[in-house]
Amino acid sequence: MIRTIIKREFLDNILSFKFIACVLVAIILTSVSTVFLRSDYLARLEDYRTGVTLNERNLKEVPVYSYLAPKVFKEPNPLSIFVSGIERETGTYADINHRDIPASLRGGLIKNEFSHMFSFFDMSSVITIIFTLLAILLSYNAITGEKEEGMLSLSLANAVPRYKILLGKYFGILISLAVPLALLFLMGILIVLLSRDIEVSASFFFSMTLLFGLSLLYLSSVAFIGLFVSARTKKSFTSLLVLLSVYLITVFLLPLAVNGYAGRVTSLRTRNFEANLPSVTDAREKAIEQSLDKIRSPRTWLLPFPSRRGTMLLKRISPPEFLDYFKKTVRIQEKLMEDYAVKIESLREIDDAAAAAVRRWRNIILAMMPSTDFTRMADLTAETGEDNLLLFVSKLKTYWHSYVHYLDEKNAFGLKYFYPYPEEFTPQEKDLIERINKDYVEGKQLAGYRGKYLEEALGVNPEVQNLDLSGLPAFVFHGSNITDKIGVMLPNILVLISYNLVFLLLAHFSFNRYDPRKDA
């Protein structure tokens, strides 16, 4: 019997105008967005690959540690084609540098800052916006509609238990939702598979399956809510009105208000870094100054911080006591920079903790609503949400510590910091040194030296030996595996399951007391 009801319900649904219209809109929107987001993904993948190769090439040609500037890239996830999340707004790479612990990514992908008025559609938003509406439209008159047409009394007269009618309706709706949803997923996967440049692994299919299951779980809870409201109301119109209000509130309004409010609270509570940064940097400057005061500085005729190759060459031909002084100061200064990076980070940690507290509350509030539950789970599955970014940044911090440990171990701020050339001077260099020292002793104006010996010094080209960086720790980020992901989203899954159960029971009890008479 139940099979007949499901079949009838299913056929009724898929032949209705609302079903065809919604599914058509969903298919058009998903295919268009998937095609566009696919090309966007490919562009990001290309950026990622060129970035990584460039970084590797750069690391092979590092003569001194001051040249060492590794970059860490975040690999785009193929699932971002379907769930774009915040990945496009948060940046793609981080610079690793002993002076500062990376707290964020650079190279944001919102290229056009004025485009915020068009937010992006992807498959997950098609599910939350259009499929939710479809689920509501299919379920709002499941019971009231039957009653209005007088069919309900007829069905009940056939000695069909009420729970069977309810379950039949439910499964009919669920199948009518699952079929177009499966179609969308297959279409999406096909578009990805047909593009040769995208390599997909087994985890891609796992994640897509998981996403499909979660979507169905979410839509099922919407269907149960619809059935419950339908079983509580006398008129279809009232039922639809209540459901649409819930739709507007949970899909559009509350996420906007909760996220907006949480954002504002966070920005008010995370002022510690900005407020205290100047004092810490002042303290750093003072500490550097104090420790440098202890070393007797020789009379120098060059700026203490060379950065260009030309000045570096001149450095080689500067007086030996200066070089000695220079090595000492660099070691002290850079070491202090490194120490203070940790102190600056501790300022950030206070803010991060405050932000995490707000985030926790926001997550709890958002977990109350099925639509936001689904959004979060989709973000977690596709690894494009906030959780993934925070995980990446925390990995970055761990990496920074191992990087700095490596530098300390190699005594990087010592001899090999600014000084790429062999100890022995070439005859030309000896000659140059002699001439410069002569000028220097004679007390000629230093400003007049701009470029005097530069060309000559540039002509001297001792062989540069690149550093052996084989011991440099590598940054590895694989995201989280599927069991971890499910572990994180477990509360959301439980909330959705309880939504399903509670509304199943509520719908059941309400329907049991439902007055099937047409005029009631």
Binding site: F114, H116, S119, S236, A257, T266, S267
Partner: protein, 476 residues
């Protein structure tokens, strides 16, 4: 007769459950948004005050001895937060905040939201400490309430105007009275508009009272004028959705079909269409380089100049005086070329968004959004105007520096020769200061005019269609 019918309809609408639910919803949203806006606005004002104070300090320092200003001395020209943001925020909280102006060169760089210049001149992207909210579909302002919620209510109020009467059997009854069909439609339309006017009026009153009570927003007559213009625009916009509801009612047989059709129209016109053009940003045609890439192109311009003048500079390397003369001559040229690259891409970005906005003009919701943003003087229109003002100020400042330096020109920041500037103290009051001027109401209305005209056309078209269709409606 028509007066009597109208009265009946309005009373019926106002007492209906639909209206009640939506009314409560709208009131709640207006209250919540007012609170969010006020806390937000307070923060924005505080930030603005901090930045203004910093600018003033910089200028005082500069006035004591112009040579205090080194090559990196800068001011942050940021947009003044305006109460009009409550009428239409137009994503101003997510778009660029203003410009970073290097005082001794032509450099005017966009200051985006995620960028913060701290006291020591570092650039700190504040992404992780900041709360990263997902891309918002809408922003919390009065425009959203009308564009999204009231339009929904409009469809709900009008969808069963004709089909409902038919189903209840009252349509034939009405016809048996000497009432014209056109009167009936006009009455339905007017009653829906009157019913919608109530929540609209109330939300405007609440908003005004909230802003007044908070006392952080001085309610000038300008704001009230903008609010009035906003109310007029809202009526024009809501009229479209009432007509769409009536349209659905006249083209369908049953209320149920009419409602589904109306909802789909609403979803398509309010949610899907205004937001989809963003996907086109992935096309090659609408592609722009990232901010970092643009800055590296700017650097490349400098390097090109260095290549170009390398020989000349090498020849002068022993003659300090002549070398500095060369630097002073080429410097401004380099600055202008660098600024040219930035300006070119900024212009392009704005042009792209404007093109995409044109696609959106099919949707009345977008037309309304752009019209209110023009009337309130916010959004991209505001930014363009601000950019002009910042440019004018920048040029004025540079010519002021030239004027105080006599015949010597200040040079580029990268090969900066501070000696080209005077070291005598200057009168602080004589230094040009940046003060953002509001856009004149006339200009704002001129900007809004095309959108308003299109909205009116929409209305006209739907009105004739509904009248025509209803004239032939089968009342049985």
């Amino acid at each position: 007769m028509i007066k009597y019918m109208l009265k009946r309809q309005v009373v019926e609408d106002i007492l209906s459950l639909t209206f009640l639910i939506n009314f409560v919803l709208i009131l709640g949203v207006v209250l919540a948004f007012s609170l969010i806006f006020l806390s937000d606005y307070r923060g924005q004002l505080a930030d603005y005050a901090v930045k203004s104070a910093k600018n003033e300090r910089t200028l005082r320092h500069f006035s004591e001895d112009p040579r205090n200003a080194n090559a990196y001395a800068n001011m942050q020209l940021v947009m003044k937060p305006r109460a009009e943001r409550f009428i239409s925020l137009s994503y101003e909280d997510r778009s660029p905040q203003g410009f970073y102006f290097r005082m001794l060169s032509y450099e005017l760089r966009v200051l985006s939201r995620k960028e913060d210049v701290s006291g020591i001149g570092w650039y700190i992207p504040v992404t992780t400490r900041e709360f990263i909210s997902p891309p918002a579909f809408f922003s919390p302002d009065l425009t959203f309430i009308v564009q999204f919620l009231l339009s929904f209510l409009a469809v709900i109020l009008a969808f069963n105007a004709v089909t409902g009467e038919k189903e209840a059997g009252t349509l034939r009854l009405i016809y048996s009275n000497p009432a014209k069909r056109s009167h009936l439609v006009a009455m339905k339309y007017l009653s829906a508009m009157l019913t919608l006017g109530l929540p609209l009026l109330l939300s405007l009153i609440i908003a005004t009272v909230m802003l007044e009570v908070s006392s952080i927003v001085p309610l000038a007559s300008g704001f009230l004028y903008n609010l009035m213009m906003f109310a007029l625009l809202s009526f024009l916009y809501l009229s479209v959705f009432v007509l769409i509801g009536l349209f659905c009612s006249t083209v369908t047989r049953t209320s149920r079909h009419s409602l589904v059709l109306g909802l789909l129209f609403w979803l398509f016109l309010v949610v899907i269409l205004p937001k989809s053009p963003g996907l086109l940003l992935n096309l090659k045609r609408f592609d722009v380089p990232t901010g970092e890439r643009i800055e590296s192109l700017v650097e490349k311009t400098s390097q090109d100049f260095q290549e170009k003048y390398k020989k000349e500079a090498m020849a002068l390397r022993d003659n300090e005086e002549a070398f500095m003369r060369l630097v002073n001559r080429v410097g401004p040229e380099v600055d202008q070329a660098r600024q040219g690259v930035r300006d070119q891409y900024l212009t392009r970005k704005i042009a792209i968004v404007k093109t995409l906005r044109k696609i959106n003009m099919i949707s009345p919701a977008s037309l309304y959004e752009y019209a209110t943003s023009s009337v309130a003087g916010t959004g991209i229109f505001h930014f363009e105007n601000f950019w002009n003002q910042a440019r004018q100020f920048g040029n004025g400042f540079i010519s002021f520096v030239k004027q105080i330096s006599g015949d010597k020109e200040p040079s580029s920041p990268f090969q900066f020769d501070i000696r080209s500037i005077t070291n005598k103290p200057i009168d602080y009051n004589a230094i040009p200061k940046f003060e953002e001027k509001e856009i004149r109401p006339g200009e704002r209305i001129k900007e809004a005019l095309p959108y308003v005209a299109l909205l009116a056309l929409y209305n006209l078209f739907l009105f004739t269609f509904v009248f025509y269709k209803f004239g032939r409606y089968d009342v049985r």
